[in-house]
């Protein structure tokens, strides 16, 4: 049941391929950059933080086939919706950008692959009038860390809830709603969680005035 990164790329490719990713900087049409044609970022040995065995064995843990594809591709420009990132450089292995409506489907892919929900992070990009939500997934038995991110307009920050797929997301979403005012559609109870019961302000927004 342990998924390899490429199978995940397939599934996300089909998912993302269906709906072109709206916002983000000009994204080439989904069809061109999807699927295994992606170049693998070279897990450069010397550049890893700790010289010597640590990063070698770290890379060794990655699925064997990734080591096989050690073609010296320069890391792809960060435009494609699905990228494999080097764990030693970024901390996660797969970075997928999906449309807000596809969050639940992405969560189901992750659930079927046996991943666990790690964290839901809200980021308030005030300059671009957007709010970014990053879902982190870890796998209890297989290596591989996946970050699924989506962007919503700041005026109407609305993302469907994944509490049905991952019950643990219930609390993460309530907390992100507390801090950013992100409305998780379908969430059973979005009342203030870390803030006092009668709190109506959202402190982590960039334009929050105490």
């Amino acid at each position: 049941m342990n998924p390899t990164l490429d199978q995940l790329c397939e599934q996300f490719g089909r998912l993302v391929g269906t709906v072109p990713v709206p916002s983000k900087p000009p994204v080439p049409t989904a069809s061109s950059s999807v699927g295994p044609a992606l170049g693998l970022p070279v897990a450069a040995s010397g550049e890893g933080r700790v010289a010597g065995p640590a990063s070698e064995s770290g890379a060794g843990l990655r699925p064997a086939d990734q080591a096989a594809k050690m073609a010296a591709h320069p890391p792809p420009a960060p435009t494609g919706p699905i990228q494999k990132t080097d764990h030693a450089a970024k901390g996660y292995d797969l970075d997928v950008t999906v449309a807000p409506t596809q969050i639940v489907m992405a969560a189901e892919i992750m659930d079927r692959a046996g991943f666990g929900l790690d964290a839901i992070t809200g980021v308030d990009w005030l300059a671009q009038e957007q709010m970014e939500v990053v879902y982190d997934y870890f796998h209890p038995t297989a290596p591989g860390r996946v970050a699924v991110r989506t962007r919503v307009p700041r005026a109407r920050p609305e993302v469907p809830t994944i509490a049905a797929v991952f019950p643990g997301a219930n609390w993460h979403e309530r907390e992100t709603h507390d801090f950013f005012g992100l409305v998780f559609a379908g969430h059973p109870d979005l009342s203030p969680f870390l803030l006092p019961e009668d709190a109506t302000f959202h402190p982590l927004r960039k334009d929050y005035q105490p």
Binding site: E47, R49, V50, A51, G52, P53, A54, S57, G58, L61, H87, A88, A89, K90, G91, Y92, G114, F115, G116, L117, D118, A119, T121, V123, D124, V134, D136, F138, H139, P140, T141, P143, R145, A147, F166, P167, G168, N170, W171, F179, P192, F193, L194, L195, P196, P203, L204
Partner: protein, 375 residues
């Protein structure tokens, strides 16, 4: 006085009442409030209410420079402060691609494992106070004081450490620390055996903990519970092995797990982790290389724009820092994924139908630190 809103008044059966295991309660390990809808002694629904010690760590991350946020990391989960130092410092090193000398890496591992032992000792004494045993605290704190003396000599503080710096550690260790640590490891092993005879094999503890609050591996995955909770349910998930960092891949230690998944399993996983930490400390001391303890670090830290994560195995489970930087010298967003937050989220589902004392035994086995939940 109205009857509770969600009281299920079934004809002929007793009414339910809502008990506030309030913010001020000896078994709450801090200011966690649990609204328990009770039917007699049975818990029908235990809804944790948190936020009573929310201290805005993530908000402070956005108006402090990268170095000014360091003392905060020691005050999120003050029992395993060095692990939290490690995660934040290593995340920034990952962003800035800073080289850390090997001696500093070994010092980080040794002091982190000593911190894990002191955290497990506090958990052990607090958990047994919940179950009614008051004297183990005196034994555990006796050993812990020896440990704190050693760590204080090197780091300067007893509890909320800020020992790690970007690129290494704050200062080097001297001969007295190395000798003292070896002596501590030698003296602590027979003490562990005494704890086992006195408490672990005690029939009362067995009766109080066995098959209380069973948690399945699937439930752990669904809620994101990690650390001794997921290892108590049979899954050998440990960030030191899953996403190896620092010099952990070079050290050989096992990941203790228990298949049963009840409170006794989590208790035994904690106790087995104490022995593993002792092994790691010994290996770390044997292989401690010479050399500098602080690498080259740019004067002003401006990580390139983008987001970086770093996860460590803290005493309570997987702690991950997600930094979002926009190239300035102040972080754009600091996300702290703390283990107790997810570990507590499965308490509501697991404690349904238990009697109150068992629900408290379950909550103690989850090893909660409340500021770790509220951040």
């Amino acid at each position: 006085m109205t009857s509770p809103a969600d009281s299920a008044v079934r004809p002929g059966v007793n009414e339910t009442f809502v008990l506030n295991l309030g913010p001020q309660h000896p078994a709450a390990h801090g200011v966690l409030r649990v609204k328990m809808t009770m039917d007699g002694e049975y818990v029908m629904r235990a809804e944790p209410v948190i936020g009573y010690i929310h201290r805005m760590h993530e908000k402070m991350g956005e108006n402090r420079t990268w170095a000014q946020f360091l003392p905060n990391t020691g005050r999120i989960d003050y029992l395993s402060a060095l692990h939290y130092n490690h995660a934040y410092v290593a995340a920034v090193e990952r962003a800035l691609k800073i080289e850390v000398p090997r001696r500093a890496e070994f010092l980080r591992v040794i002091t982190s494992e000593m911190n894990r032992i002191s955290s497990h000792l506090v958990w052990w004494s607090a958990y047994l106070i919940d179950l009614g045993g008051l004297t183990p605290l005196l034994y555990a704190f006796d050993d812990r004081e020896k440990l704190l003396d050693l760590l204080e000599a090197v780091t300067g503080s007893r509890l909320t450490y800020t020992y790690f710096r970007f690129g290494g550690v704050y200062n080097d260790v001297d001969e007295a620390f190395l000798r003292g640590t070896r002596q501590f490891v030698r003296e602590f092993r027979p003490r562990l055996k005494m704890y086992r005879d006195l408490v672990t094999d005690n029939i009362i503890l067995r009766k109080r903990l066995e098959n209380i609050g069973p948690i399945s591996a699937e439930q752990c995955r669904k809620y994101g519970a990690t650390g001794p909770v997921i290892r108590g349910s049979g899954v050998a998930y440990d960030v030191r092995r899953a996403e190896p960092y620092s010099v952990y891949p070079e050290l050989d230690f096992e990941i203790p797990t228990r298949p049963e998944g009840d409170s006794m399993a989590r208790y035994l996983v904690h106790m087995a982790e104490l022995e593993q930490s002792l092994r790691i400390i010994e290996q770390g001391l044997d292989r401690l290389p010479d050399g500098p303890v602080l690498g080259k670090v740019p004067r002003v830290l401006r990580p390139p724009a983008g987001d970086y994560c770093f996860a460590v195995e803290a005493a309570r489970g997987r702690f991950m820092v997600r930094l979002v930087s926009d190239g300035k010298d102040i972080p754009y967003r600091v996300k702290l994924r703390t283990p107790s937050f997810s570990n507590l989220s499965l308490f509501e589902e697991t404690s349904r139908g238990m009697i109150l004392p068992d629900a408290l035994a379950l909550m103690g086995s989850l090893d909660l630190v409340i500021p770790d939940i509220d951040r």
